[in-house]
């Protein structure tokens, strides 16, 4: 049946040669019932030709040119497929490294900073904080050149043997880090003895509770326990000031106060 239909369809659609068409016409004369099928295909053919009416293509050469330029540029902007497999592992490695840095820096306590004049022992050691001896309590008017950045000091301590009047910086923490200032920050203490100022740079994570940074020769500073280290005076000793950094909740202004006397310490110029 399908083979027979195909012949009639080919005839109706004009696909047959003249000889084949003559044969089909002869068969149709013998089998008039096939005429209906031929009419169906002819009708179909006529309807299909009506689908040829299509609107005009308005795609302009300019749009075509833009599309090709965009595609070409897009292809050039794509990363090389040969190196594409590196993207995933590289991103994972960066994330892992970031997590490691964050976790390794997270120590539980910020936030009290003690600066005191050097003891005789400390004065002989190279330190990262050099403050004139005439300055008491908070180092006063320390020149910017010697203003220490503890991060750098830990790895490359600045030694100033000519200054026997160095001070040690003692840091107590009660949280993950102390961030008194991100750059050289003038520090002023107002007390009975008048205003005093120093440059203080502490934007680094600090070691945990009640520790101090002690010079270790050429290798930098190491944290020490204030309570156990006999070379360090206790907070009650004269000449040691403990300050507590604070942030004003309303204005965001940073300030500090002495722990013992509760006197305010003003940050800023």
């Amino acid at each position: 049946m399908s083979r027979h239909d195909d012949r009639l369809a080919a005839y109706a659609f004009g696909d047959l040669s003249p000889e084949e068409s003559s044969r089909v016409e002869a068969e149709l004369a013998e089998h008039p019932e096939w005429t209906a099928a031929v009419e169906q295909f002819r009708s179909l053919r006529g309807d299909l030709t009506r689908l040829r009416d299509v609107p005009e293509c308005q795609l302009s050469p300019e749009r075509m040119r833009d599309a090709i330029l965009r595609r070409e540029m897009g292809d050039r902007a794509k990363p090389s497929r040969r190196l594409g497999w590196l993207i995933g592992p590289a991103a994972s490695a960066m994330v892992m490294a970031g997590l490691w840095v964050i976790l390794s820096d997270a120590s539980p306590n910020p936030t009290e900073l003690r600066i005191r004049p050097a003891t005789s022992t400390m004065a002989k050691l190279p330190t990262s904080v050099s403050i004139p001896e005439t300055a008491s309590l908070l180092a006063m008017d320390a020149p910017p050149a010697v203003a220490p950045r503890p991060v750098a000091s830990r790895t490359t301590p600045r030694t100033s043997p000519s200054r026997a009047t160095s001070a040690a910086m003692v840091i107590e923490t009660a949280g993950p880090s102390v961030r008194l200032a991100s750059r050289d920050l003038p520090l002023t203490s107002r007390g009975d003895s008048g205003d005093r100022s120093a440059n203080l740079v502490t934007d680094v994570p600090l070691p945990p509770v009640a520790s101090a940074m002690k010079p270790t020769g050429e290798s930098g500073l190491r944290p020490v326990d204030v309570a156990k280290d006999p070379t360090l005076a206790s907070p009650e000793d004269e000449g040691i000031v403990i300050i507590r950094p604070e942030v004003d909740a309303a204005t965001g202004a940073r300030s500090a106060s002495e722990v013992n006397s509760n006197e305010p310490i003003v940050f800023g110029g």
Binding site: L44, L48, I68
Partner: protein, 205 residues
């Protein structure tokens, strides 16, 4: 010598309208974009007619034409001169249309097209008699629906052979089959279309 500028800014000999497709392709391969543009202007209507039958919305059809020519431009180095350039273009269009037919966005497009053509039935027609016009449009609509419902391989060969009247040799090249195979596919597709239209035809009687 008439000179033109390539996409890369290089001066090249301007293509002439009468140049053969093969010559223009050859120049386009060497970086002469104007030669490719001449090919585009020459054959965009052919491609548009073909793709419009697959997705009868002008916007979509023009997007497809654009995509066909972008692909052609990017693959000019793969074109072999044994086949006609138009055959190669329609082959790209066939593949693209087949890919798109597999996606499911077509139903919405067809509904929109139907909604848009509803008004046209009442206002535009071949016959003076509005009822005859309506009847005629209804037949075309039914045929379009039947075409849409056909498998894409049937639809492609009917468009190529019975609407665009391509030769069997071209169809065989596009479908990558023998001429006999192309004829067989066309016959099967016609039968499938006729079977879908029979209810409508009998209803007409």
């Amino acid at each position: 010598m008439d000179l033109a500028m390539s996409l890369s800014g290089q001066l090249i000999e301007r293509p002439i309208e009468g140049d053969s497709d093969e010559l223009l392709v050859s120049r386009a391969r060497e970086g002469d974009y104007q030669a490719f543009e001449t090919l585009f202007v020459r054959h965009r209507t052919l491609v548009f007619r073909f793709v419009y039958q697959m997705c009868p919305r002008r916007d979509d059809a023009e997007d497809m034409v654009q995509e066909v020519f972008v692909r052609a431009y990017q693959n000019l180095h793969r074109y072999r001169d044994e086949a006609k350039f138009t055959t190669w273009l329609l082959r790209i269009a066939t593949n693209l249309g087949t890919d798109r037919a597999r996606m499911s966005h077509r139903r919405q497009a067809l509904e929109q097209q139907e909604a848009g053509s509803g008004l046209a039935w009442m206002t535009i027609g071949e016959h003076d008699d509005p009822i005859a016009n309506l009847e005629s449009e209804r037949r075309v609509l039914a045929l379009r629906r039947a075409m849409e419902a056909l498998p894409i391989h049937h639809r492609n060969v009917i468009i190529l052979r019975d609407i665009e009247e391509r030769e069997y040799t071209d169809i065989a090249e596009m479908l990558n089959c023998t001429i006999g195979g192309a004829k067989l596919r066309v016959l099967r597709a016609r039968r499938a279309l006729r079977d879908r239209m029979i209810p409508f035809m009998e209803d007409q009687r």
